[in-house]
Assembly symmetry: C2
Homo-oligomer: 412 residues x 2
């Protein structure tokens, strides 16, 4: 029985994830970087104490699906509506520019294959709401006008990103890029978005009715996990990445998704809170495993550090990743300082970038070198922006409108 | 990628577990029976939709460890102290009698090998606090004098049972019964019981201090799970069953275990509640997987139902299991009705019996036939007693002392 070995691996993964994420959080670096670092330390790059096996990979995959469920649950469509126009410009700019700049550099500058170049472009499109929200909250600017625009844009970018991920995944599985593939994925996503609110309504009514009646505890977490895994399996079965199912389930159960139904569903606000409450510990348990596995999948020792191409690639992609996110912000009609604040806040990739990179690796599109370059790019664009934002606000903060800033608390 | 298959298996396991346990609960049968039934329906006995694989087995094992953690967390040593003398008599009687009667029938009547006979005796010793508490609560007798005696005895039986399990496991792994094996296990359990409160104190102080400081959510569930899995790995590493680690961790963190330290640790009552709150959804998610796997491990189609020996064995063991639990109660100095109430309440085996049976199967001591007989015995001794108790209270309840019964609420 090698069950003991798996337990030890899990203990090391959870322990290192916690210690490293606390340590980097203390240095004001986003915790997700600490979890990835824990994986690099535990994996073949450094200590080699933990080896990837099927069990850990399935747990990481569940973590990824629950992470997307959580992102979906937190996705607040109303944020988009409030500052829709400006947010849309920033989102489209911050999606199109990184994708095409990343693609162009890979395809023409480094002469990479078409699908690989598209995956690199895709990886650079990500925006992490989590990191940005935390930094803005630290600066007490999370209710400011520019924060609202950034949040709206990040929500849109998430949706764009998941659809693009589904497209690229389909291309890598089917081995080709075709109109029929594109339409298949888009039809699937469309069906999901139509089915989601119906499923959510049925779920909410069923669970809401039985949760108090049931004599057996744990109805909420088991039913929600069952639904999330069912959506994940469904997504996988029709050829999309499983995480799309998690995202759809989260979106379907998010608070704002109920709003179109109006007053009839008002009672379920409590239900959404209860879902969050009972799912939170499970999500918190599984998601670190995913980020540690990202680090474990990387073998820094196998990277040819002598090669100038690799260093060059890393530098180019870091530059592209930063500059391209500023593009969208410069199309909105605001002061120069406002544009810079929005642009800087859009840079962090964090978890969404890592999801792209991991999917690129699993589907065989990224080899170890490219994977390492992408991880370095994501790390740089996650670790640096918080410092850049803090410096920017300290230096130019007084030029920004102070209208809605500071005291309101609408923490998502 | 067969990840999709695993997700589908998990969806089926969780869904069937919930539907079947709700259904049997509606019929006033303990829900754990429904979860086992779900496994029988999904497994090779009936539909054959879910096949056991390593991932599901590890998840079930984690479920088992968390179940024992939960049992440990709920173990209330003070219950024992209150009604210590009578509870001890009932516990010792309800442990020794089933073990020796079960062993004697297997060894002499059916001519089974020594270790197998001991495992069968061990399986019959279990007492499920959960089922009994639920039935007594339904009858509004959970604060009665007889309930207190039964609870105290069940707590002791849990501890006896886990130690016996560790002993039998060691015998089956080392292939022999020796004084050195016995002393090794007893020393290990003793060290655990001495280390547990120290670890708990360090944990409580560390987590209590960092839980509010930490900027990263989820400190409590991840740290507690890490500790539980670490104890499980430790137990496995020194040759005991991993679940002993879960039980020790639970016992160490239970509310009453703090009491010996007195007032200095009073603040951690809140901490124990918070542990329960954040661990509950995780425990509720994993434990059904274990019980479904118990059913999945059983192949009823492979059992030779034509053989009179198998039916005979099932009948004998059911009889032994019921009668032997009454023995202890008849040594206490109380009215006849009181003795019957206590004896009947001690019969349910449920989860603890299933843990024994599953460990017997995994370690290769139980073949499919014996496993089936044990499952049938456990099912009968779990499903029948609630009805017997209800009938008994309806018929003879007025003969029992009414002193502490009914209105107080000290639900564990």
């Amino acid at each position: 029985m090698e069950v003991g070995g798996i337990f030890l691996s899990l203990v090391l993964i959870l322990l290192f994830a916690r210690v490293f994420s606390e340590a980097v959080a203390w240095l004001k670096i986003p915790p997700v970087m600490g979890e990835m670092l824990a994986g690099i330390v535990l994996g073949p790059s450094l200590l080699g104490w933990v080896e990837l096996n099927e069990v850990i990979q399935v747990l990481a995959e569940i973590g990824l699906i629950l992470l997307l469920f959580d992102v979906g649950l937190d996705t607040d469509i109303s944020k988009l509506a409030e500052h829709g126009y400006k947010a849309s410009i920033v989102a489209v700019g911050g999606f199109v520019a990184p994708f095409f700049l990343g693609f162009a550099c890979s395809y023409w500058l480094f002469g990479m294959p078409l699908l690989l170049s598209m995956f690199i472009g895709g990886t650079l499109t990500a925006t992490s709401i989590g990191v940005t929200v935390r930094v803005l909250r630290d600066l007490k600017r999370h209710c400011s006008h520019e924060a609202q625009v950034v949040l709206g844009a990040a929500v849109l970018d998430d949706i764009f990103g998941v659809v693009l991920l589904a497209l690229l995944y389909e291309f890598s599985v089917s081995g080709g890029i075709s109109i029929s593939n594109i339409s298949k994925v888009i039809i699937f996503v469309a069906i999901f978005m139509m089915l989601a609110p119906i499923v959510a309504k049925v779920m909410a009514e069923t669970i809401g009715r039985y949760d108090h009646q049931s004599k057996i505890q744990g109805l909420l977490p088991t039913t929600v996990i069952t639904l999330v895994l069912f959506f994940a399996w469904l997504a996988h079965a029709v050829g999309a990445p499983a995480l799309l199912g998690g995202f759809a389930a989260g979106l379907a159960m998010s608070r704002r998704f109920f709003l179109p139904f109006g007053a009839a569903l008002r009672a379920e606000g409590d239900f959404v809170l209860r879902i969050g409450g009972s799912m939170r510990p499970i999500i918190q348990l599984f998601t670190p495993i995913f980020f540690v596995v990202v680090g474990l999948s990387l073998n820094l020792q196998a990277v040819d550090w002598g090669s100038p191409v690799i260093l060059m690639m890393a530098l180019v992609f870091i530059l592209v990743a930063m500059v391209s996110k500023l593009v969208g912000a410069f199309f909105i009609q605001e002061s120069v300082h406002f544009r810079w604040a929005v642009g800087l806040a859009m840079i962090p990739r964090a978890e969404v970038g890592l999801i792209f990179a991991e999917l690129g690796r699993i589907s065989g599109v990224f080899d170890n070198d490219i994977y390492a370059v992408m991880i370095i790019t994501i790390a740089a664009t996650t670790v640096l922006p918080p410092f850049m934002l803090k410096w920017f606000y300290a230096r130019f903060g007084h030029h920004l409108p102070n209208d809605e800033s500071g005291n309101k608390h609408t923490d998502g």
